[in-house]
């Protein structure tokens, strides 16, 4: 991951489960095919009920109709982001739609693991419910070495929790790169 990520925020609440991130009926497209995998971007977050899609007001489409990349770069969320299924299609869909980082109060562990091990996006955590203070469309900048989230729209700066155990995997890129670097296999 780059040292800095800058972009627009898309804000969600608690318990955004994998069926909301990518509804199960879409789990049939090939992730390997460069054209077909775009469909994951087209339908990313399409399972979120309209009235809570893009807080605080809702009714904000994550991906414009007919496109596979979102104008939003960073997701801000509440607790237990990514709960539900173990499907890796969930962090993959968000990455395909252009998301580089999620900043949430907490994560479900399989989603967290998949995001890190697959190198799809960096899952940051905050102690405070930052999602209540940021609006969808605010411009944000994440500084990874300093672990800060800066709202360029409001001027406020929020501390991010240390990545701890997974920092090495994030730095290596994904778990395969990390395992090779650690000498676990060639």
């Amino acid at each position: 991951m780059k040292d800095r990520v800058r972009g627009l925020a898309y804000v969600l609440g608690h318990n955004i489960d994998t069926d909301q991130i990518i509804p199960a009926k879409h789990l049939v497209y090939s992730l390997a095919d460069p054209e077909e995998r775009k469909l994951y971007g087209v339908h990313a977050l399409s399972g979120v009920p309209d009235h809570v899609a893009g807080l605080p007001r809702g009714y904000v489409r994550f991906v414009p109709e007919g496109q596979h990349v979102s104008p939003f770069r960073i997701i801000i969320a509440g607790k237990n982001f990514g709960c539900g299924s173990s499907r890796e299609h969930a962090p993959a869909a968000l990455q395909i739609a252009g998301i580089e980082a999620v900043v949430a109060e907490s994560y479900a562990r399989i989603f967290y693991r998949n995001a890190v091990n697959g190198g799809f996006l960096v899952p940051f955590e905050t102690k405070e419910p930052v999602w209540e203070q940021i609006k969808t469309g605010d411009e944000l900048e994440i500084d990874l070495p300093n672990l800060t989230l800066h709202s360029l729209t409001t001027g406020l700066v929020y501390p991010l929790q240390s990545l701890g155990d997974v920092l090495e995997i994030v730095k290596a890129g994904d778990v395969f790169a990390y395992a090779r670097q650690s000498g676990l296999f060639q």
């Binding site: 069926d19 909301q20 509804p23 199960a24 049939v28 237990n80 299924s85 173990s86 998949n114 155990d165």
Partner: protein, 433 residues
């Protein structure tokens, strides 16, 4: 200092004398399971990372069970099964339960024990969140994604962070109107959908040990709905009798060590629990069936790894026998073995299948996950409108069974059957003596 069951199993598989919660270790894997939805992605990563001529680390330890999108006209879904077939042929994998063959099984978490792949003391990973079901056999079992599964396929190991264990003790046998589903919904209502995140959930007490192996599976199955890493129940004579009847492979009984330390212990008196439901749209939105008695339903669904085992159908049949359902009722046996049992097992002279048919329920032609997770639009039992459904399945987040404007109530097979008869959410005590 003694270790919990989970700590011991992980320590042994990492070649260590001792581990503590929080330790990051690499463990040897006994079984890696995958299915039609996540298998293709896993296979693709495996070949990309290990080479197109790479071979899996141990053919005896890979189990491939297509079960999710089977009875559909969706061509992409068919392609997924073909990709599994290609891989199985290329790798010469012995454990593949292929669609359209006599070996086809259905729901992976029920097929695994039926085929003797679940054994005490082992480490089992599956590309499905409900892999935790196998903890009922006294092993460490949890769900992983495609990347992790591809790594396991190549090197037979995975990194794991040792979890703390939360203990849930049930005192007293289950009253005749309660099932394991009520117990686990009760727990999730207490601790919330993230109440067990990163932790093992151990179920104990005479109430739990009085349960059949299938009911123990139901308990462990929904550990993921509380965010838990794995579920575990100490193996006993019931476990061993089942496992020995399915496989000649040796296994190791692991139980909590003396002085093992737990994150927390909760004690429940089983007789104080009432038939429970989880209301839309979260498995922790708990209420009693009695308090929800005014809620009208459009549909009842009995199936899935959580509620589609023969034990679940015996329970539903007890209530549906001689009655008519008031709402569309879908019955989906989890596996081909369960489907056969529906036809051969009898309750007072009537087969379970006849009981369901005579009650007006529709039985799926094939065993699979079907509408538990929505699936392609032509999936049996899928909610395609803003319907209100009561179901024996495991999740009810928005859109889980299809339409995101549908409402899903989770409940036990007894409660779902009773509700199908009245057309409203119904406490099964109304029908059980």
């Amino acid at each position: 200092m003694g270790m919990t069951m989970t700590e011991q199993i992980l320590a042994r598989h990492a070649g260590r004398f001792h581990v503590s919660p929080g330790d990051n270790i690499w463990v040897d894997v006994d079984i890696l399971m995958t299915h039609d939805v996540c298998g293709p992605g896993t296979i693709q990563i495996f070949h990309k990372q290990f080479g197109k001529d790479a071979r899996v680390w141990d053919r005896e330890k890979v189990v491939v069970i297509p079960d999710h999108y089977i009875f559909t006209r969706d061509l992409h879904a068919h392609r997924n099964v073909d990709l599994l077939r290609q891989f199985v042929a290329e790798q010469q994998l012995p454990y593949f339960y292929d669609v359209g063959t006599p070996r086809y099984k259905g729901v992976c978490h029920i097929a695994l024990p039926e085929e003797g792949h679940t054994r005490p003391g082992e480490v089992l990973f599956g590309t499905d969140s409900h892999t935790c079901t196998a903890g009922a056999f006294g092993e460490f079992a949890t769900g992983i994604g495609n990347t992790d599964a591809a790594l396991v396929l190549g090197i037979g190991k995975l990194w794991v962070k040792v979890p703390e264990t939360m203990r849930f003790i049930f005192e007293g046998p289950l009253p005749p109107y309660l099932m394991a589903k009520d117990l686990i919904l009760h727990i999730i209502g207490d601790i919330g959908v993230d109440g067990a995140t990163y932790r093992a959930m151990e179920f104990a007490g005479d109430g739990v040990m009085s349960l059949s192996i299938e009911e123990r599976m139901t308990l462990c199955n929904m550990v993921i709905e509380a965010g838990g890493k794995n579920g575990v129940i100490a193996p006993d004579a019931v476990t061993e009798a089942f496992v020995k009847s399915k496989t000649p492979k040796p296994y190791e009984i692991v139980v909590n060590g003396q002085g093992a330390r737990f994150h927390s212990v909760r004690v429940y008196k089983t007789r104080e629990i009432e038939p429970t439901v989880a209301k839309p749209h979260s498995p922790d939105n708990r209420d009693t069936a009695f308090r929800c008695r005014d809620i009208s339903l459009d549909r009842a669904y009995i199936g899935s790894c959580t509620g589609g085992k023969i034990t679940d159908f015996r329970a539903a049949a007890r209530i549906l026998k001689g009655k008519q359902v008031k709402v569309d009722t879908f019955v989906v046996p989890a596996t081909t073995e369960v489907a056969k049992a529906l036809a051969t097992e009898r309750l007072d002279g009537e087969s379970l299948q006849q009981i369901f048919e005579n009650a007006g329920a529709v039985i799926a032609q094939g065993a699979s996950c079907a509408a538990c997770l929505g699936g392609p639009s032509d999936t049996f039992g899928r909610l395609n409108k803003s319907e209100v459904c009561i179901s024996t399945t495991n999740r009810n987040f928005p859109g889980r069974m299809g339409s995101k404007s549908a409402q899903v109530y989770l409940a036990s097979p007894y409660t779902v059957a009773a509700s199908a008869v009245t057309g409203k959410i119904t406490d099964p005590r109304q029908f059980l003596a």
